[in-house]
Amino acid sequence: MARHPLATGGPGVSLPGQTISWLADGNNWRGVNGILDLTVDHLEVTGLSMLIAAAVALPLGIGIGHRRRGGRVITVVANAGRAIPPLALIIILASEPSFGVNTRTAVAALSVFAIPPMLINAFTGVRNVDVDALDAARGLGMNGPQLLARVEIPLALPLLATGVRIALLQTFATATIASFAGTRTLGTIIQINQATNQEQAVLAGALVIAIEALLLDVVLAWIQGAVKPGPRTRRRWGEGRPALDSVVAVSVSEAA
């Protein structure tokens, strides 16, 4: 442990060099603990947790937003989601024998933390629909459900999409540490090689995780841009990033 990582390996072979050769070795990509298989596992855990969380958060956020009340509850959920470290919940659940160290535990914890971003954005999106637009729709004779389906949800779509994007990126990131709860994710590369002091493999694993997270972000930004209604405008990568449009909005309204 006390050894400096730069001091490991054969004479004259630097850690970056070792890391690159680890990544260049096809054996580290194939097989049960290979990068490819673990990527699939990682995406499966992320996707499953997202589905469960979305099934809870989106109807709830849209419903509360439609009634235009209960903003306080949303704020509490948002703050709790920020104050409770995912690692703590993962470890508590994994330590509790009724859950145990398994994929179900990881999915349960990841789902819980995917809820707040989607809930806040669904709520904010629906609640912020222009009152004039609602009045006009009512004037056309729309009832509650019609209002929701034809006016509120379509107008809330950009914020809904942002919420899903934030939640997805966050779940992907948290799935990394979920490997400690006994599920197989890309974090497994860090976990098993840390235990055996294989610094170059730990570093390579971290690099793979970082690059895949950035790729996911690019893909999500692209999808979000493609489904965005209205005139297509060229956007620089990173502009309008999930970056917490919602956090800024919620916090500013708290402060006001």
């Binding site: 730069l6 920020r82 948290t174 610094e199 971290a206 620089r236 970056a243 956090v247 800024v248 402060a255």
Partner: protein
């Protein structure tokens, strides 16, 4: 649940754990406060010039926010591990540097949102009163941006305290280290106490920042009364 039996039974709630490991608990709590406080403080120190830089040119603003967004997207455990070879494995510098880097997106964005939201009429009026660009920024735009800046600081404070926990996986995470050690030893009371303390620290720190905001923006108080 108060006797030493709960230690043997590995109960989640165990008074004997608190009394027998008091020193250790206090040690990690102080470490957690130090590391998160240092990260938040340094975060503010870097966010101010970065925001001013982003404010100075339109293209710089987009580039700065894009770069901060890219950093923010990197999962924390990966970033900690990637920084270790360059910054050292035996101390918490990689964790602090990563937390400072993450805080920049939250802080700079809210800084810019706050400065943007100052009404044009107010700026015009100040110019008319003879304020130069610097005096305008310091004495008009900055005070009016304080609510948004504090909103960013609140989010940063709470999430930094929570995120430091992940440092426990590489044994550099304050109470996160206590949490992770408890997990590896299958010691339930330690896992629960560490988790609860992290959440409590986050809530208390949030209250402190709200208090600071109350002190820093007396005119808002007057409006509420």
């Amino acid at each position: 649940m108060l006797g030493a039996n709960c230690l043997r039974a590995n109960s989640w709630v165990c008074g004997a754990y608190l009394s027998s490991r008091e020193g250790q608990i206090i040690h990690f709590t102080i470490q957690h406060l130090e590391l998160s406080g240092l990260s938040i403080g340094l975060g503010l120190v870097f966010a101010i010039p970065l925001s001013l830089l982003a404010l100075s040119r339109r293209w710089l603003r987009a580039s700065v926010l894009s770069l901060l967004g890219v950093i923010y997207t990197i999962p924390s455990l990966a970033l900690f591990v990637l920084l270790q070879p360059w910054l050292g494995v035996t101390h918490a510098t990689p964790v602090v540097v990563a937390l400072v880097a993450y805080s920049q997106l939250l802080l700079v964005r809210n800084f810019l949102v706050g400065l943007d939201e100052v009404p044009a009429e107010v700026i015009d009026a100040a110019r008319g009163m003879g304020y130069g660009p610097l005096a305008l920024l310091w004495r008009v735009r900055l005070p009016l941006a304080l609510p948004a800046i504090f909103a960013g600081l609140r989010v940063t404070t709470v999430s930094t305290i929570a995120l430091l926990t992940v440092g426990g996986v590489i044994n550099q995470g304050g109470l996160g280290s206590l949490l992770f050690q408890g997990f590896q030893d299958n010691f339930h009371a330690q896992v629960l106490v560490a988790s609860v303390l992290i959440v409590v620290l986050g809530i208390l720190a949030d209250v402190v920042v709200v208090g600071l905001q109350w002190l820093a923006t007396p005119w808002q108080r007057a409006g509420q009364a």
